[in-house]
Protein backbone atom coordinates (compact mmCIF):
# COMPACT_ATOMS: atom_id res chain seq x y z
CA UNK A 1 0.00 0.00 0.00
CA UNK A 2 1.20 3.47 -0.91
CA UNK A 3 1.77 5.80 2.04
CA UNK A 4 -0.18 9.01 1.51
CA UNK A 5 0.03 12.31 3.40
CA UNK A 6 -2.72 11.46 5.89
CA UNK A 7 -1.14 8.09 6.71
CA UNK A 8 2.20 9.74 7.37
CA UNK A 9 0.46 12.28 9.55
CA UNK A 10 -1.32 9.57 11.51
CA UNK A 11 1.93 7.64 12.06
CA UNK A 12 3.74 10.81 13.09
CA UNK A 13 0.99 11.66 15.57
CA UNK A 14 1.18 8.15 17.02
CA UNK A 15 4.95 8.41 17.34
CA UNK A 16 4.75 11.80 19.04
CA UNK A 17 2.11 10.58 21.50
CA UNK A 18 4.17 7.49 22.28
CA UNK A 19 7.50 9.25 22.71
CA UNK A 20 6.47 12.54 24.27
CA UNK A 21 6.19 11.21 27.86
CA UNK A 22 9.96 10.48 27.77
CA UNK A 23 10.47 14.24 27.96
CA UNK A 24 8.03 14.83 30.82
CA UNK A 25 9.92 15.60 34.06
CA UNK A 26 6.83 15.42 36.29
CA UNK A 27 3.11 14.70 36.41
CA UNK A 28 2.20 18.34 35.77
CA UNK A 29 3.29 17.83 32.18
CA UNK A 30 0.99 14.82 31.85
CA UNK A 31 -1.81 16.95 33.20
CA UNK A 32 -1.32 19.63 30.56
CA UNK A 33 -0.90 17.03 27.83
CA UNK A 34 -4.18 15.30 28.73
CA UNK A 35 -6.14 18.53 28.49
CA UNK A 36 -4.46 19.27 25.15
CA UNK A 37 -5.36 15.81 23.84
CA UNK A 38 -8.97 16.15 24.97
CA UNK A 39 -9.28 19.51 23.25
CA UNK A 40 -7.72 18.00 20.15
CA UNK A 41 -10.36 15.26 20.02
CA UNK A 42 -13.13 17.82 20.39
CA UNK A 43 -11.61 20.07 17.72
CA UNK A 44 -11.24 17.24 15.20
CA UNK A 45 -15.02 16.80 15.52
CA UNK A 46 -15.71 20.54 15.39
CA UNK A 47 -13.50 20.84 12.34
CA UNK A 48 -15.78 18.47 10.44
CA UNK A 49 -18.52 21.04 10.96
CA UNK A 50 -16.59 24.31 10.58
CA UNK A 51 -13.67 23.45 8.36
CA UNK A 52 -15.13 20.83 6.06
CA UNK A 53 -18.84 21.59 5.90
CA UNK A 54 -18.30 25.34 6.33
CA UNK A 55 -20.92 25.83 9.07
CA UNK A 56 -19.85 27.92 12.04
CA UNK A 57 -20.81 27.11 15.61
CA UNK A 58 -20.17 29.53 18.45
CA UNK A 59 -21.94 27.30 20.96
CA UNK A 60 -20.08 24.02 21.03
CA UNK A 61 -18.86 24.47 24.58
CA UNK A 62 -22.52 24.10 25.50
CA UNK A 63 -22.58 20.54 24.12
CA UNK A 64 -19.28 19.83 25.87
CA UNK A 65 -20.69 21.08 29.17
CA UNK A 66 -23.93 19.12 28.72
CA UNK A 67 -21.96 15.91 28.23
CA UNK A 68 -19.92 16.67 31.33
CA UNK A 69 -22.96 17.48 33.47
CA UNK A 70 -25.01 14.50 32.32
CA UNK A 71 -22.11 12.23 33.27
CA UNK A 72 -21.57 14.05 36.54
CA UNK A 73 -25.21 14.03 37.56
CA UNK A 74 -25.97 10.45 36.51
CA UNK A 75 -22.90 8.96 38.18
CA UNK A 76 -22.97 10.91 41.44
CA UNK A 77 -26.70 11.18 42.05
CA UNK A 78 -28.08 8.09 40.42
CA UNK A 79 -24.98 5.90 40.72
CA UNK A 80 -25.03 4.93 37.08
CA UNK A 81 -21.84 3.33 35.77
CA UNK A 82 -19.67 6.03 34.11
CA UNK A 83 -19.59 4.38 30.69
CA UNK A 84 -23.36 4.11 30.61
CA UNK A 85 -23.65 7.75 31.71
CA UNK A 86 -21.26 8.74 28.94
CA UNK A 87 -23.41 6.96 26.38
CA UNK A 88 -26.62 8.47 27.78
CA UNK A 89 -25.00 11.91 27.59
CA UNK A 90 -23.94 11.36 24.00
CA UNK A 91 -27.41 10.18 23.03
CA UNK A 92 -29.08 13.12 24.78
CA UNK A 93 -26.74 15.69 23.27
CA UNK A 94 -26.99 14.03 19.86
CA UNK A 95 -30.79 14.16 20.06
CA UNK A 96 -30.75 17.80 21.13
CA UNK A 97 -28.39 18.66 18.30
CA UNK A 98 -30.58 16.74 15.86
CA UNK A 99 -33.72 18.59 16.91
CA UNK A 100 -32.01 21.98 16.76
CA UNK A 101 -30.08 21.33 13.57
CA UNK A 102 -32.84 21.57 10.96
CA UNK A 103 -34.07 25.06 11.78
CA UNK A 104 -30.62 26.36 12.70
CA UNK A 105 -28.70 25.12 9.71
CA UNK A 106 -31.10 26.81 7.31
CA UNK A 107 -29.40 29.98 8.53
CA UNK A 108 -26.30 31.27 6.86
CA UNK A 109 -23.15 33.08 7.96
CA UNK A 110 -23.69 35.54 10.77
CA UNK A 111 -27.26 34.41 11.44
CA UNK A 112 -25.95 30.89 12.06
CA UNK A 113 -23.24 32.32 14.33
CA UNK A 114 -25.94 34.16 16.30
CA UNK A 115 -28.18 31.11 16.68
CA UNK A 116 -25.41 28.75 17.81
CA UNK A 117 -24.07 31.40 20.16
CA UNK A 118 -27.56 31.77 21.64
CA UNK A 119 -27.92 28.04 22.21
CA UNK A 120 -24.54 27.91 23.96
CA UNK A 121 -25.40 30.83 26.22
CA UNK A 122 -28.81 29.41 27.12
CA UNK A 123 -27.19 26.09 28.12
CA UNK A 124 -24.61 27.99 30.17
CA UNK A 125 -27.26 30.01 31.99
CA UNK A 126 -29.36 26.90 32.73
CA UNK A 127 -26.32 25.11 34.19
CA UNK A 128 -25.59 28.17 36.29
CA UNK A 129 -29.13 28.63 37.53
CA UNK A 130 -30.57 25.17 38.19
CA UNK A 131 -28.39 24.65 41.25
CA UNK A 132 -30.61 21.88 42.67
CA UNK A 133 -29.45 19.71 39.79
CA UNK A 134 -26.09 21.10 38.73
CA UNK A 135 -24.71 22.61 41.90
CA UNK A 136 -24.87 26.04 40.31
CA UNK A 137 -21.79 28.30 40.15
CA UNK A 138 -20.05 26.25 42.86
CA UNK A 139 -19.89 23.32 40.51
CA UNK A 140 -20.41 19.61 40.81
CA UNK A 141 -18.02 17.01 42.16
CA UNK A 142 -17.67 13.99 39.89
CA UNK A 143 -16.29 10.53 40.73
CA UNK A 144 -13.37 8.82 39.09
CA UNK A 145 -13.88 6.94 35.87
CA UNK A 146 -14.36 3.29 36.77
CA UNK A 147 -15.27 0.42 34.51
CA UNK A 148 -16.35 -2.91 35.97
CA UNK A 149 -14.71 -2.29 39.30
CA UNK A 150 -11.45 -1.02 37.83
CA UNK A 151 -10.80 2.68 38.43
CA UNK A 152 -8.81 4.87 36.09
CA UNK A 153 -6.45 6.94 38.19
CA UNK A 154 -3.23 8.82 37.69
CA UNK A 155 -2.20 11.26 34.98
CA UNK A 156 -0.17 8.62 33.18
CA UNK A 157 -3.16 6.35 32.58
CA UNK A 158 -5.33 9.26 31.52
CA UNK A 159 -2.60 10.27 29.10
CA UNK A 160 -2.66 6.90 27.34
CA UNK A 161 -6.44 6.85 27.23
CA UNK A 162 -6.58 10.35 25.73
CA UNK A 163 -3.78 9.54 23.30
CA UNK A 164 -5.50 6.41 21.99
CA UNK A 165 -8.77 8.30 21.78
CA UNK A 166 -7.15 11.05 19.71
CA UNK A 167 -5.52 8.57 17.33
CA UNK A 168 -8.83 6.80 16.84
CA UNK A 169 -10.63 10.08 16.27
CA UNK A 170 -8.07 11.30 13.75
CA UNK A 171 -8.25 7.98 11.91
CA UNK A 172 -12.06 8.07 11.76
CA UNK A 173 -12.04 11.68 10.64
CA UNK A 174 -9.51 11.03 7.87
CA UNK A 175 -11.60 8.07 6.70
CA UNK A 176 -14.80 10.06 6.67
CA UNK A 177 -13.32 12.99 4.76
CA UNK A 178 -11.95 10.66 2.09
CA UNK A 179 -15.33 9.03 1.43
CA UNK A 180 -18.51 9.93 -0.41
CA UNK A 181 -19.94 11.26 2.85
CA UNK A 182 -16.92 13.51 3.35
CA UNK A 183 -17.01 14.72 -0.22
CA UNK A 184 -20.69 15.58 0.19
CA UNK A 185 -19.82 17.57 3.33
CA UNK A 186 -17.08 19.47 1.53
CA UNK A 187 -19.39 20.05 -1.42
CA UNK A 188 -21.89 21.70 0.93
CA UNK A 189 -19.10 24.13 1.82
CA UNK A 190 -18.04 24.63 -1.80
CA UNK A 191 -21.49 25.28 -3.29
CA UNK A 192 -24.76 24.15 -1.77
CA UNK A 193 -26.72 24.48 -4.98
CA UNK A 194 -23.95 22.80 -6.96
CA UNK A 195 -24.15 19.84 -4.59
CA UNK A 196 -27.94 19.72 -4.62
CA UNK A 197 -28.28 19.45 -8.40
CA UNK A 198 -26.23 16.25 -8.44
CA UNK A 199 -28.36 14.68 -5.74
CA UNK A 200 -26.72 15.65 -2.44
CA UNK A 201 -29.40 16.28 0.18
CA UNK A 202 -27.47 19.22 1.63
CA UNK A 203 -29.85 19.71 4.57
CA UNK A 204 -29.39 16.11 5.68
CA UNK A 205 -25.59 16.35 5.56
CA UNK A 206 -25.54 19.58 7.52
CA UNK A 207 -27.68 17.96 10.22
CA UNK A 208 -25.47 14.88 10.18
CA UNK A 209 -22.22 16.76 10.69
CA UNK A 210 -23.76 19.00 13.35
CA UNK A 211 -24.87 15.94 15.30
CA UNK A 212 -21.52 14.18 14.88
CA UNK A 213 -19.57 17.21 16.11
CA UNK A 214 -21.96 17.69 19.05
CA UNK A 215 -21.56 14.02 20.08
CA UNK A 216 -17.77 14.39 19.92
CA UNK A 217 -18.04 17.38 22.26
CA UNK A 218 -20.34 15.49 24.61
CA UNK A 219 -18.07 12.44 24.89
CA UNK A 220 -15.02 14.58 25.58
CA UNK A 221 -17.09 16.51 28.12
CA UNK A 222 -17.98 13.28 29.95
CA UNK A 223 -14.34 12.18 30.11
CA UNK A 224 -13.26 15.65 31.20
CA UNK A 225 -15.76 15.56 34.06
CA UNK A 226 -14.39 12.28 35.41
CA UNK A 227 -10.79 13.35 35.11
CA UNK A 228 -11.20 16.81 36.56
CA UNK A 229 -13.34 15.68 39.47
CA UNK A 230 -15.05 19.09 39.56
CA UNK A 231 -17.05 20.77 36.83
CA UNK A 232 -18.39 24.33 36.82
CA UNK A 233 -20.75 26.06 34.38
CA UNK A 234 -17.75 28.02 33.04
CA UNK A 235 -16.83 25.06 30.83
CA UNK A 236 -19.96 25.88 28.80
CA UNK A 237 -19.34 29.61 28.52
CA UNK A 238 -19.30 31.66 25.34
CA UNK A 239 -15.59 32.23 25.91
CA UNK A 240 -14.92 28.49 25.89
CA UNK A 241 -16.92 28.11 22.65
CA UNK A 242 -14.82 30.85 21.12
CA UNK A 243 -11.63 29.17 22.32
CA UNK A 244 -12.67 25.95 20.59
CA UNK A 245 -13.40 27.71 17.30
CA UNK A 246 -10.14 29.61 17.62
CA UNK A 247 -8.25 26.30 17.98
CA UNK A 248 -9.79 24.98 14.76
CA UNK A 249 -9.24 28.16 12.79
CA UNK A 250 -5.74 28.74 14.12
CA UNK A 251 -4.53 25.25 13.26
CA UNK A 252 -6.17 25.38 9.86
CA UNK A 253 -9.73 24.87 8.76
CA UNK A 254 -10.44 21.78 6.68
CA UNK A 255 -7.34 20.09 8.02
CA UNK A 256 -7.69 17.32 10.59
CA UNK A 257 -4.10 17.73 11.73
CA UNK A 258 -4.62 21.47 11.78
CA UNK A 259 -7.35 21.03 14.36
CA UNK A 260 -4.97 18.91 16.45
CA UNK A 261 -2.13 21.43 16.20
CA UNK A 262 -4.42 24.38 16.98
CA UNK A 263 -5.88 22.60 20.01
CA UNK A 264 -2.44 21.69 21.34
CA UNK A 265 -1.08 25.24 20.92
CA UNK A 266 -3.99 27.01 22.57
CA UNK A 267 -4.20 24.41 25.36
CA UNK A 268 -0.53 24.62 26.24
CA UNK A 269 -0.23 28.38 25.83
CA UNK A 270 -1.89 29.42 29.13
CA UNK A 271 0.47 27.11 31.01
CA UNK A 272 3.47 28.73 29.34
CA UNK A 273 2.12 32.14 30.27
CA UNK A 274 1.39 31.50 33.95
CA UNK A 275 4.21 33.81 34.98
CA UNK A 276 2.66 36.57 32.84
CA UNK A 277 -0.82 36.02 34.15
CA UNK A 278 -1.84 39.66 33.73
CA UNK A 279 -0.84 39.57 30.08
CA UNK A 280 -2.51 36.27 29.22
CA UNK A 281 -5.60 37.79 27.58
CA UNK A 282 -3.51 40.36 25.71
CA UNK A 283 -1.18 37.71 24.31
CA UNK A 284 -4.04 35.35 23.40
CA UNK A 285 -5.85 38.16 21.61
CA UNK A 286 -2.68 39.16 19.76
CA UNK A 287 -2.06 35.57 18.64
CA UNK A 288 -5.62 35.17 17.39
CA UNK A 289 -5.51 38.41 15.42
CA UNK A 290 -2.04 38.08 13.96
CA UNK A 291 -2.42 34.44 12.91
CA UNK A 292 -5.62 35.27 11.08
CA UNK A 293 -4.11 38.33 9.42
CA UNK A 294 -0.86 36.71 8.32
CA UNK A 295 -2.01 33.08 7.91
CA UNK A 296 -5.73 33.25 7.15
CA UNK A 297 -5.67 29.57 6.12
CA UNK A 298 -4.26 28.57 9.50
CA UNK A 299 -0.93 27.14 10.58
CA UNK A 300 -0.88 23.62 9.13
CA UNK A 301 -2.13 24.43 5.59
CA UNK A 302 0.22 27.42 5.41
CA UNK A 303 3.24 25.41 6.52
CA UNK A 304 2.38 22.55 4.16
CA UNK A 305 2.12 24.97 1.25
CA UNK A 306 5.49 26.53 2.09
CA UNK A 307 7.09 23.07 2.29
CA UNK A 308 5.56 22.08 -1.04
CA UNK A 309 6.79 25.27 -2.69
CA UNK A 310 10.26 24.71 -1.38
CA UNK A 311 10.11 21.10 -2.53
CA UNK A 312 8.94 22.19 -5.95
CA UNK A 313 11.67 24.81 -6.27
CA UNK A 314 14.61 22.56 -5.42
Amino acid sequence: MRLTGPHIGLLATAAIIALLPLTFPNSYYYDVAVSALFNAVLCVGLNLLIGYAGQISLGHAGFFALGAYVSGILTTRWNLPPLLALVVGAVLVGTLAFVLARPILRLKGHYLAMATLGIGIIIFIVLNTEAWLTGGPDGLTVNYLSVAGWTLKGDRNWYWLAGILLLTTVWLSLNLIDSAVGRALRAVHGSEVGAAVVGVDTGRYKVLVFVISAVFASVVGSLFAHRNGLITPGIGSFFHSVELVAMVVLGGMASTFGAVVGAVILSVLPHLLTSFEDYEAIILGMIMMSTMIFMPKGIVPTVLRLLRQRGGAS
Binding site: I50, I56, L58, P103, I104, R106, L107, K108, G109, H110, Y111, A113, M114, A115, L117, G118, I119, I121, I122, I125, V126, N128, T129, V193, F238, F239, V242, V245, A246, V249, L250, M253, D278, Y279, E280, A281, I282, I283, L284, G285, M286, I287, M288, M289, M292, I293, P296
Partner: protein, 291 residues
Protein backbone atom coordinates in the same frame (compact mmCIF):
# COMPACT_ATOMS: atom_id res chain seq x y z
CA UNK B 1 -50.07 46.30 39.29
CA UNK B 2 -49.80 48.96 36.59
CA UNK B 3 -47.02 50.70 38.49
CA UNK B 4 -45.05 47.47 38.49
CA UNK B 5 -45.54 46.98 34.77
CA UNK B 6 -44.55 50.57 34.11
CA UNK B 7 -41.47 50.13 36.24
CA UNK B 8 -40.37 47.13 34.18
CA UNK B 9 -41.12 48.94 30.93
CA UNK B 10 -39.06 51.95 31.98
CA UNK B 11 -36.07 49.88 32.92
CA UNK B 12 -36.56 47.84 29.73
CA UNK B 13 -36.56 50.93 27.56
CA UNK B 14 -33.49 52.29 29.35
CA UNK B 15 -31.44 49.14 28.87
CA UNK B 16 -32.99 48.68 25.44
CA UNK B 17 -31.66 52.08 24.38
CA UNK B 18 -28.14 50.91 25.10
CA UNK B 19 -28.75 47.69 23.17
CA UNK B 20 -30.16 49.79 20.36
CA UNK B 21 -26.99 51.90 20.23
CA UNK B 22 -24.86 48.75 20.29
CA UNK B 23 -27.07 47.21 17.59
CA UNK B 24 -26.68 50.33 15.47
CA UNK B 25 -22.93 50.04 15.90
CA UNK B 26 -23.09 46.50 14.51
CA UNK B 27 -25.35 47.63 11.67
CA UNK B 28 -23.12 50.53 10.59
CA UNK B 29 -20.03 48.35 10.37
CA UNK B 30 -21.94 45.49 8.79
CA UNK B 31 -23.38 47.79 6.16
CA UNK B 32 -20.04 49.26 5.23
CA UNK B 33 -17.97 46.09 5.24
CA UNK B 34 -20.12 42.98 5.90
CA UNK B 35 -18.06 42.42 9.02
CA UNK B 36 -19.66 41.54 12.34
CA UNK B 37 -17.53 43.30 14.90
CA UNK B 38 -17.49 41.18 18.04
CA UNK B 39 -15.43 43.93 19.72
CA UNK B 40 -18.45 46.27 19.69
CA UNK B 41 -19.12 45.51 23.37
CA UNK B 42 -15.56 46.56 24.25
CA UNK B 43 -16.29 50.03 22.84
CA UNK B 44 -19.10 50.29 25.38
CA UNK B 45 -16.79 49.08 28.13
CA UNK B 46 -13.96 51.45 27.18
CA UNK B 47 -16.33 54.44 27.12
CA UNK B 48 -17.67 53.61 30.56
CA UNK B 49 -14.33 52.69 32.13
CA UNK B 50 -12.36 55.61 30.70
CA UNK B 51 -14.93 58.18 31.78
CA UNK B 52 -15.21 56.75 35.31
CA UNK B 53 -11.45 56.66 35.71
CA UNK B 54 -11.10 60.23 34.48
CA UNK B 55 -13.87 61.52 36.74
CA UNK B 56 -12.32 59.67 39.66
CA UNK B 57 -9.03 61.39 38.81
CA UNK B 58 -10.72 64.76 39.30
CA UNK B 59 -11.70 65.81 35.77
CA UNK B 60 -15.07 67.48 35.31
CA UNK B 61 -17.69 65.19 33.80
CA UNK B 62 -17.88 66.96 30.41
CA UNK B 63 -14.13 66.76 29.91
CA UNK B 64 -14.08 63.10 30.94
CA UNK B 65 -16.87 62.34 28.49
CA UNK B 66 -15.14 64.04 25.58
CA UNK B 67 -11.82 62.35 26.30
CA UNK B 68 -13.44 58.94 26.76
CA UNK B 69 -15.31 59.24 23.46
CA UNK B 70 -12.17 60.36 21.65
CA UNK B 71 -10.16 57.51 23.13
CA UNK B 72 -12.77 54.94 22.10
CA UNK B 73 -12.95 56.42 18.61
CA UNK B 74 -9.19 56.09 18.26
CA UNK B 75 -9.43 52.46 19.38
CA UNK B 76 -12.14 51.86 16.77
CA UNK B 77 -10.12 53.46 13.99
CA UNK B 78 -6.99 51.57 15.02
CA UNK B 79 -8.93 48.30 15.07
CA UNK B 80 -10.03 48.79 11.48
CA UNK B 81 -6.67 49.99 10.21
CA UNK B 82 -4.45 47.41 11.91
CA UNK B 83 -6.65 44.32 12.23
CA UNK B 84 -9.58 44.42 9.82
CA UNK B 85 -8.20 46.16 6.74
CA UNK B 86 -5.25 43.75 6.29
CA UNK B 87 -7.69 40.81 6.24
CA UNK B 88 -10.37 42.38 4.08
CA UNK B 89 -10.75 39.48 1.66
CA UNK B 90 -10.70 36.74 4.27
CA UNK B 91 -13.83 34.65 4.83
CA UNK B 92 -16.47 35.17 7.48
CA UNK B 93 -15.08 32.82 10.13
CA UNK B 94 -11.59 34.30 9.83
CA UNK B 95 -12.86 37.83 10.40
CA UNK B 96 -15.06 36.69 13.28
CA UNK B 97 -11.95 35.25 14.94
CA UNK B 98 -10.05 38.50 14.34
CA UNK B 99 -12.71 40.65 15.99
CA UNK B 100 -13.09 38.19 18.87
CA UNK B 101 -9.30 38.25 19.25
CA UNK B 102 -9.49 42.04 19.31
CA UNK B 103 -12.15 41.97 22.01
CA UNK B 104 -10.06 39.61 24.17
CA UNK B 105 -7.05 41.85 23.60
CA UNK B 106 -8.91 45.05 24.54
CA UNK B 107 -10.38 43.38 27.61
CA UNK B 108 -6.88 42.29 28.62
CA UNK B 109 -5.51 45.81 28.21
CA UNK B 110 -8.42 47.30 30.16
CA UNK B 111 -7.87 44.87 33.00
CA UNK B 112 -4.15 45.64 33.06
CA UNK B 113 -4.56 49.42 32.95
CA UNK B 114 -7.72 49.94 34.97
CA UNK B 115 -7.80 46.88 37.20
CA UNK B 116 -10.48 44.29 37.88
CA UNK B 117 -12.76 46.14 40.27
CA UNK B 118 -16.06 47.53 39.02
CA UNK B 119 -16.40 51.29 38.60
CA UNK B 120 -19.19 53.77 38.40
CA UNK B 121 -20.01 57.38 37.54
CA UNK B 122 -22.20 59.79 39.52
CA UNK B 123 -25.62 60.33 37.93
CA UNK B 124 -25.51 63.34 35.60
CA UNK B 125 -28.28 65.29 37.30
CA UNK B 126 -28.94 63.98 40.76
CA UNK B 127 -29.95 60.60 42.18
CA UNK B 128 -33.49 61.57 43.28
CA UNK B 129 -35.90 59.46 41.15
CA UNK B 130 -38.97 60.96 39.50
CA UNK B 131 -42.35 59.48 40.47
CA UNK B 132 -44.29 58.49 37.38
CA UNK B 133 -47.75 56.95 38.05
CA UNK B 134 -46.29 55.11 41.01
CA UNK B 135 -43.17 53.91 39.19
CA UNK B 136 -39.76 55.34 40.03
CA UNK B 137 -37.96 56.74 37.03
CA UNK B 138 -34.26 57.36 37.59
CA UNK B 139 -33.14 60.72 36.25
CA UNK B 140 -30.25 59.00 34.55
CA UNK B 141 -32.76 56.91 32.57
CA UNK B 142 -33.98 60.14 31.01
CA UNK B 143 -30.40 60.91 30.02
CA UNK B 144 -30.01 57.45 28.51
CA UNK B 145 -33.26 57.60 26.56
CA UNK B 146 -32.78 61.23 25.49
CA UNK B 147 -29.17 60.91 24.35
CA UNK B 148 -29.91 57.64 22.51
CA UNK B 149 -32.84 59.21 20.72
CA UNK B 150 -30.71 62.19 19.75
CA UNK B 151 -27.95 59.95 18.39
CA UNK B 152 -30.43 57.85 16.44
CA UNK B 153 -32.00 60.93 14.85
CA UNK B 154 -28.57 62.35 14.12
CA UNK B 155 -27.55 59.15 12.37
CA UNK B 156 -30.78 59.10 10.39
CA UNK B 157 -30.06 62.64 9.21
CA UNK B 158 -26.44 61.76 8.43
CA UNK B 159 -27.26 58.75 6.25
CA UNK B 160 -30.22 60.29 4.44
CA UNK B 161 -29.27 63.94 4.10
CA UNK B 162 -25.51 64.34 3.94
CA UNK B 163 -23.30 63.53 1.00
CA UNK B 164 -20.87 61.49 3.07
CA UNK B 165 -23.68 59.54 4.67
CA UNK B 166 -25.10 58.72 1.26
CA UNK B 167 -21.65 57.70 0.11
CA UNK B 168 -21.50 55.26 3.02
CA UNK B 169 -24.86 53.80 2.08
CA UNK B 170 -23.82 53.51 -1.54
CA UNK B 171 -20.74 51.59 -0.46
CA UNK B 172 -22.89 49.14 1.45
CA UNK B 173 -25.07 48.44 -1.58
CA UNK B 174 -22.30 47.99 -4.08
CA UNK B 175 -18.70 48.47 -3.14
CA UNK B 176 -17.34 48.34 -6.67
CA UNK B 177 -19.88 50.75 -8.10
CA UNK B 178 -19.23 53.15 -5.24
CA UNK B 179 -15.52 52.97 -5.95
CA UNK B 180 -16.11 53.72 -9.61
CA UNK B 181 -18.18 56.74 -8.62
CA UNK B 182 -15.13 58.11 -6.84
CA UNK B 183 -16.10 57.25 -3.27
CA UNK B 184 -13.08 56.51 -1.09
CA UNK B 185 -14.24 53.07 -0.03
CA UNK B 186 -11.35 52.47 2.36
CA UNK B 187 -12.07 55.74 4.10
CA UNK B 188 -15.72 54.75 4.44
CA UNK B 189 -14.81 51.42 6.03
CA UNK B 190 -12.42 53.02 8.50
CA UNK B 191 -14.92 55.70 9.35
CA UNK B 192 -17.66 53.14 9.99
CA UNK B 193 -15.52 51.67 12.77
CA UNK B 194 -14.91 55.16 14.19
CA UNK B 195 -18.63 55.91 14.21
CA UNK B 196 -19.54 52.60 15.81
CA UNK B 197 -16.91 53.18 18.47
CA UNK B 198 -18.37 56.60 19.25
CA UNK B 199 -21.86 55.14 19.51
CA UNK B 200 -20.60 52.41 21.83
CA UNK B 201 -18.63 54.84 23.97
CA UNK B 202 -21.57 57.21 24.45
CA UNK B 203 -23.81 54.27 25.33
CA UNK B 204 -21.25 53.00 27.81
CA UNK B 205 -20.88 56.41 29.46
CA UNK B 206 -24.57 57.22 29.89
CA UNK B 207 -25.45 53.80 31.29
CA UNK B 208 -22.55 53.50 33.73
CA UNK B 209 -24.26 55.51 36.53
CA UNK B 210 -27.10 52.94 36.43
CA UNK B 211 -25.38 49.61 35.88
CA UNK B 212 -21.73 50.09 36.91
CA UNK B 213 -19.03 48.92 34.56
CA UNK B 214 -15.97 46.69 34.66
CA UNK B 215 -13.38 45.35 32.26
CA UNK B 216 -15.75 42.42 31.60
CA UNK B 217 -18.91 44.48 31.06
CA UNK B 218 -18.52 44.54 27.29
CA UNK B 219 -19.07 40.83 26.65
CA UNK B 220 -22.77 40.60 27.43
CA UNK B 221 -23.55 44.10 26.15
CA UNK B 222 -21.86 43.27 22.87
CA UNK B 223 -23.74 39.99 22.48
CA UNK B 224 -27.06 41.72 23.27
CA UNK B 225 -26.23 44.37 20.69
CA UNK B 226 -25.52 41.61 18.18
CA UNK B 227 -28.90 40.06 19.04
CA UNK B 228 -30.55 43.43 18.49
CA UNK B 229 -28.90 43.80 15.09
CA UNK B 230 -29.79 40.25 14.01
CA UNK B 231 -33.34 40.56 15.34
CA UNK B 232 -33.88 43.66 13.25
CA UNK B 233 -32.26 42.13 10.21
CA UNK B 234 -28.53 42.66 9.71
CA UNK B 235 -27.67 45.98 8.12
CA UNK B 236 -31.06 47.53 8.86
CA UNK B 237 -30.42 50.51 11.16
CA UNK B 238 -34.05 51.12 12.14
CA UNK B 239 -34.43 47.37 12.63
CA UNK B 240 -31.45 47.34 15.01
CA UNK B 241 -33.02 50.11 17.10
CA UNK B 242 -36.33 48.25 17.24
CA UNK B 243 -34.48 45.02 18.00
CA UNK B 244 -32.57 46.67 20.84
CA UNK B 245 -35.71 48.05 22.46
CA UNK B 246 -37.45 44.71 22.02
CA UNK B 247 -34.61 42.81 23.67
CA UNK B 248 -34.41 45.34 26.52
CA UNK B 249 -38.14 45.28 27.23
CA UNK B 250 -38.43 41.50 26.93
CA UNK B 251 -35.55 41.13 29.33
CA UNK B 252 -37.03 43.50 31.90
CA UNK B 253 -40.50 41.92 31.71
CA UNK B 254 -39.05 38.42 31.77
CA UNK B 255 -36.85 39.20 34.76
CA UNK B 256 -39.79 40.85 36.53
CA UNK B 257 -42.54 38.36 35.86
CA UNK B 258 -40.81 35.07 35.13
CA UNK B 259 -37.34 34.71 36.62
CA UNK B 260 -34.58 37.20 37.28
CA UNK B 261 -31.97 34.43 37.15
CA UNK B 262 -32.80 33.92 33.48
CA UNK B 263 -32.63 37.63 32.64
CA UNK B 264 -29.74 37.20 30.21
CA UNK B 265 -31.34 34.16 28.56
CA UNK B 266 -34.53 35.86 27.32
CA UNK B 267 -32.77 37.79 24.57
CA UNK B 268 -31.33 34.59 23.15
CA UNK B 269 -34.54 32.60 23.45
CA UNK B 270 -36.35 35.32 21.50
CA UNK B 271 -33.67 35.49 18.85
CA UNK B 272 -33.75 31.72 18.37
CA UNK B 273 -37.51 31.72 17.94
CA UNK B 274 -37.41 34.58 15.49
CA UNK B 275 -34.62 33.00 13.46
CA UNK B 276 -36.41 29.64 13.37
CA UNK B 277 -39.32 31.26 11.58
CA UNK B 278 -37.72 34.28 9.93
CA UNK B 279 -34.16 33.36 8.94
CA UNK B 280 -33.36 36.98 8.02
CA UNK B 281 -34.63 38.64 11.18
CA UNK B 282 -37.82 40.61 11.71
CA UNK B 283 -37.18 43.30 9.11
CA UNK B 284 -34.46 41.73 7.00
CA UNK B 285 -34.83 41.44 3.26
CA UNK B 286 -35.45 37.96 2.01
CA UNK B 287 -32.68 37.12 -0.36
CA UNK B 288 -33.14 34.98 -3.44
CA UNK B 289 -30.12 33.00 -4.35
CA UNK B 290 -28.73 33.99 -7.71
CA UNK B 291 -27.18 31.15 -9.61
Amino acid sequence: MFAEFLQYMLSGITVGSIYALAGLGFAIIYNASHVINFAQGEFIMIGGMASSVLVAAGLPLWAAVILAVLLTMLVGLALEIFAIAPARDADVVTIIIITIGASIFLRGVAQLVWGKSPRSLPAFSGEEPINLFGAALARQSLWVIGVSLLLILLLGWFFNRTLFGKAMLATSYNRLAAQLMGIGVNKVLTLSFGMSAVLGAVGGIIVTPITFTSYEAGIMLGLKGFSAAVLGGLGNGAGAVAGGLLVGIAEALGAGYISSAYKDAFAFVIILFVLFFMPNGLFGKRSTERV
